[in-house]
Amino acid sequence: MRCYSYFPGCCMQEDSRAYGTSAQAVAKVLDAELIELDEWNCCGSTPYTVVDELSAFCCCARNLALAEKRGLDLVAACSDCYLILSRTNQHFKEYPEIRTKINEALAAGGLEYHGTVRVRHILDVFANDISPEEIKTNVKVDLSDLKVAPYYGCQVVRPAPSFDDMENPQSLERLIESLGAKAVPYPLKTRCCGGSLILSEEDIALGLVRKLLDNAASNGADCVVTVCPFCHLNLDAYQKMVNRRLKTNFNLPVLFFTQLMGIAFGIESKALGLQENIVPLEKVLARYIKQP
């Protein structure tokens, strides 16, 4: 069995619980264990960096220090958490001043960090630690007619080179093919969904979402899979608003990639949180989904 420390992040407790539960359900099938980090706190995300950089690094460093005690790779499912935790790790190694000050601040909470934790994204784990053969042997539902747009978003592959190409990654395509479905060409697959600017600069973000949906639909996708809660929120929950405001007519189901894996593995819909998806899945996916 493969074991990982798991950093859920705030979204998994709020609008993207389906991502967390489906990831756990899929991990169980693949004989991997995601052990939630005890007493974790918010990663601070980009906003905290802007307000106070050192505090932002310390938000992450506390989590990293807790993970270091356990000694396993720290896996995040949210691309933003993944990026922010990795960045703290990188700055910690690169800048002596940051290293010293982070540890001075951590000492106030009785903690210490040595920089040894490896931060990973859950896509990396499911696409690279688990072999395509292992995935294939667990597939129980034939998805060969399903055309899927693999949407990575930005922060899972950038800014630093990690497990895949920074502009034209292939992990998700490989995974989709292993599941038996068809990955359609998706040129905008690593472009940004607008992130949290959907709240503050709605018009701009809706324009970006529209481009992404348009690109997926015009390439013949039946659905889009994402690897990030923010991408999912913007493409799924805001799809109606895009239709209303920009006079479009999209009806593209948006799934977390772990939900698609779960569907292929024949896991019940409830365990995958499919009832939480806002754009209805039935039209495209009804024949594949296992009802309780």
Partner: protein, 201 residues
Amino acid sequence: MATKAHGTNDFIQEISALPGGEKINLCIQCGTCSASCPNANRMDHTPRELIAMARAGMREEVLSSNSMWLCLSCYLCTVRCPRGIVPTYIMHALEHLAMRHHVSHPRTRTPVLYRVFSDTVYKAGYIPRFGCMIRFYLRMNPFRALRAIPVAIDLFTHGRMPLKSKELNLKTKRQFQAILDKAELLELHPGGKNFKPEVKP
């Protein structure tokens, strides 16, 4: 470095004092960042212009522009920059300086959003979506919230907006805040004379 690293331009020094900011002097003004940016056409000044202006010491113009607040942190500019600059970090540094010097930005709501987010993180150690959205709309224009109501209803009816959120236990919260309080006192110091990465770019 080809250009002055610590010249007489105070503004450049302030930017260089923040992580990633020190590379601003490597820019060759090729414009790859601006060409890659999804929001460049909505910015007062494109990323390339902003860097040129900063290096010319145009502090007020740079800090009062909306440019950095439209940065999505998608890092496309970063992976394409031929000089290894991280323009995204420069944008973060400019946002930080604008906040530190209390520059107001009437044409963008992002600074308020960021402030609400980070205040919430400090207080709760966690971001409850519902509470955060409410606070943001209250601090902006409550009428704007009306436009978000259909989305909020969809989220709520699909079980995606819990009214009661997870809470850190008291001991964890105290530890978390003690660390952040200490961090705030320490602060990466402005001026940045000692602020150098170990590995030179």
